[in-house]
């Protein structure tokens, strides 16, 4: 009964529903920042890449793992930075001092 793969599937499906409900509320105004944020978040494959690069497996795995770490870090660092740069530009109308 406690097949770990099935437990993982539960989490996957529930997280999917949760994500849908949360993301539904993001206004179209912010759809580009949303894309770049989720992109940075999907750089979480960095976690898997770190293990691949650092657990002393064969040379092939270490090389591929290092490449994976590089690619994922580009997304994490670049994604968060550019999202913030974008969001900084969204300004409200300035109230004119009367």
């Amino acid at each position: 009964m406690t097949n770990p793969l099935f437990e993982s599937l539960y989490i996957l499906v529930l997280a999917g529903f949760l994500g849908f409900e949360v993301i539904r509320k993001v206004p179209p105004l912010l759809h580009t920042p949303l894309m770049s944020t989720t992109n940075a978040i999907s750089g979480i494959s960095l976690v898997g890449s770190l293990v691949a690069a650092g657990s002393g497996q064969s040379i092939v795995s270490t090389v591929l793992g290092t490449l994976a770490v590089t690619a994922a870090t580009i997304n994490v660092v670049g994604g968060f930075m550019i999202t913030d740069r974008m969001l900084k530009m969204f300004r409200r109308k300035e109230r004119k001092p009367q």
């Binding site: 849908f20 759809h31 920042p33 750089g43 793992g65 994490v76 999202t83 530009m89 109308k93």
Partner: protein
């Protein structure tokens, strides 16, 4: 003890990701949201580095330094106008990481892998490899390394579908016999090929759907990685990314009135090439000069600006903002109507206008503003076409039929800034161009807008001067 710390850091990261995305529901809290997601990521990475199976750090360091440098340089120097390309290429990086992790997993444990894990691993490398090349292809089209128009050839759909089923067949066989290494690497290669072939026939205006879809695939690849290595934070973050992309592609396909299956199988764009040549009747267009347009604009009490991809191409957003500010100072109400698929990615127009200092409370969604056109003096259409084509309302044989449009034709006067009379992406002639109340001003949008700004300024000065005398 370490185990507990690790689990706690992953749990905290997952919660912070959800809270961060939740904060994106308003521009006021959005930056805080990004900060939360950043902290979550940091926790997850630090937690992982402390894991006992990580015994060598030198290669990790190399990867992190290289990745951070490239990522930061891209984030700092990439102009905002290149945002669609950046989004496209980053999907490729995310998918590359997931795919490589999958390949390492198979390379190390391929002979002892279980059927269930093999299924998850298959999804991981398939979604991953399709996204790697699909996104590169989208990037090349947006960057115009490859021509943006759909590239089609005979039997294209047939051969794509065939390749797709062969790939699925290989996948199923692998689940039954996970140790067949040749097939595994063959499947990765097939995925890479599929990515190219799927995006090849897709044209520029369909890019928002494609980018959203690739966003979703990249997330699903990460989520599948989580299944393979039983890592919950990967699962949750991947699921969030996957559903976000899925949701955006739903929104985009709805805004283009495409069925979702149409989008899901990527059969976008190719469908439409036939509809182009029809109807030879002569229609006349009223050409106007910027002087005429300036006269109408400065007398308008209310104005709605409709930006499209043409504004992005002409880099006219700054000039648009100047004109709008000028008219607002003269007492007019000016707002912007943003169609969901205007531009090359979801939210494209909003980012460009925000960069040009347009306050976001002036940027209105279609439903929010569509009823106001009737009571508006001027609709100013800048480099947009299909999203204001009235044929979408009634012309059943049009490829645009059923697509929700902006009701520009209901304004008192419609001013259209356009390079030429060429039809929009859908190939459907736009009757709005021939409408009596439409003023067509031909030329580069930026040049026209700049001269409009000059003209309005001059006239204001003379009127003010005359009043003083």
């Amino acid at each position: 003890m370490n185990e507990i710390l690790l689990s706690a850091s992953y749990l905290a990261a997952a919660v912070l990701f959800v809270l961060g995305l939740k904060a994106l529901n308003s521009p006021e809290t959005a930056r805080r949201g990004v900060l939360m997601a950043e902290v979550g990521m940091l926790l997850a990475v630090v937690g992982t580095l402390l894991r006992s199976e990580i015994i060598q750090y030198q290669w990790i360091l190399v990867g992190i330094v290289a990745g951070s440098t490239i990522g930061a340089l891209m984030a700092i120097f990439m102009p905002m106008t290149a945002m669609p390309q950046r989004i496209a290429i980053s999907h490729s990086f995310g998918a590359l990481a997931a795919t490589l992790v999958g390949i390492v997993e198979y390379y190390e444990h391929g002979l002892t892998i279980g059927h269930g894990t093999m299924a998850a691993l298959g999804f991981e490398v398939l979604f991953g490899s399709i996204t790697i090349t699909g996104s590169l292809m989208a990037f090349s089209k947006l960057q115009e390394f490859v021509k943006g128009a759909p590239i089609t050839y005979r039997f294209q759909n047939l051969s794509n579908i065939l390749l797709f089923f062969v790939t699925v067949g290989v996948f199923v066989f692998l689940i039954i016999r996970p140790e067949t290494g040749v097939l595994f690497y063959g499947m990765v290669a097939a995925g890479l090929l599929l990515g190219v072939l799927i995006v090849l026939p897709i044209g520029g205006a369909d890019m928002p759907v494609v980018l959203a879809l690739l966003n979703s695939y990249a997330g699903l690849a990460s989520a599948a990685t989580g299944l393979v290595i039983s890592n919950n934070v990967l699962l949750i973050a991947g699921a969030l990314d996957g559903t976000s992309g899925f949701f955006l592609s739903l929104m985009m396909s709805r805004a283009m009135n495409r069925s979702f299956t149409n989008v899901l199988f990527g059969a976008v764009g190719a469908v439409k090439a036939e509809a182009q040549t029809q109807g030879g009747e002569e229609k006349t267009v009223m050409r106007y000069t910027p002087e005429d347009a300036a006269y109408i604009l400065e007398n308008a009490q209310s104005l709605i600006i409709i930006p499209g991809y043409g504004m992005a191409v002409a880099q006219a957003q700054q000039a648009v903002q100047e004109l709008a500010t000028l008219l607002i100072e003269k007492g007019a109400t000016v707002r912007y109507a943003i169609h969901p698929v205007a531009g090359r990615m979801p939210g494209h127009m909003n980012v460009l206008l925000a960069e040009a200092n347009v306050p976001y409370d002036l940027l209105c969604e279609a439903e929010q503003i569509n009823n106001d056109f009737q009571s508006t003096d001027v609709a100013l259409v800048i480099g947009a076409n299909d999203v204001v084509n009235p044929a979408a309302r009634y012309k059943k044989e049009s490829p645009l039929y059923g697509m929700p449009i902006l009701n520009a034709d209901q304004a008192q006067t419609v001013i259209i800034l356009k390079r030429s009379l060429s039809p929009g992406f859908a190939g459907e002639d736009n009757e709005l161009f021939y409408n009596k109340k439409t003023m067509m001003v031909f030329g580069d949008a930026k040049t026209t807008l700049t001269s409009l700004v000059q003209l309005v300024k001059q006239r204001t000065r003379t009127t003010v001067g005359a009043a003083k005398d």
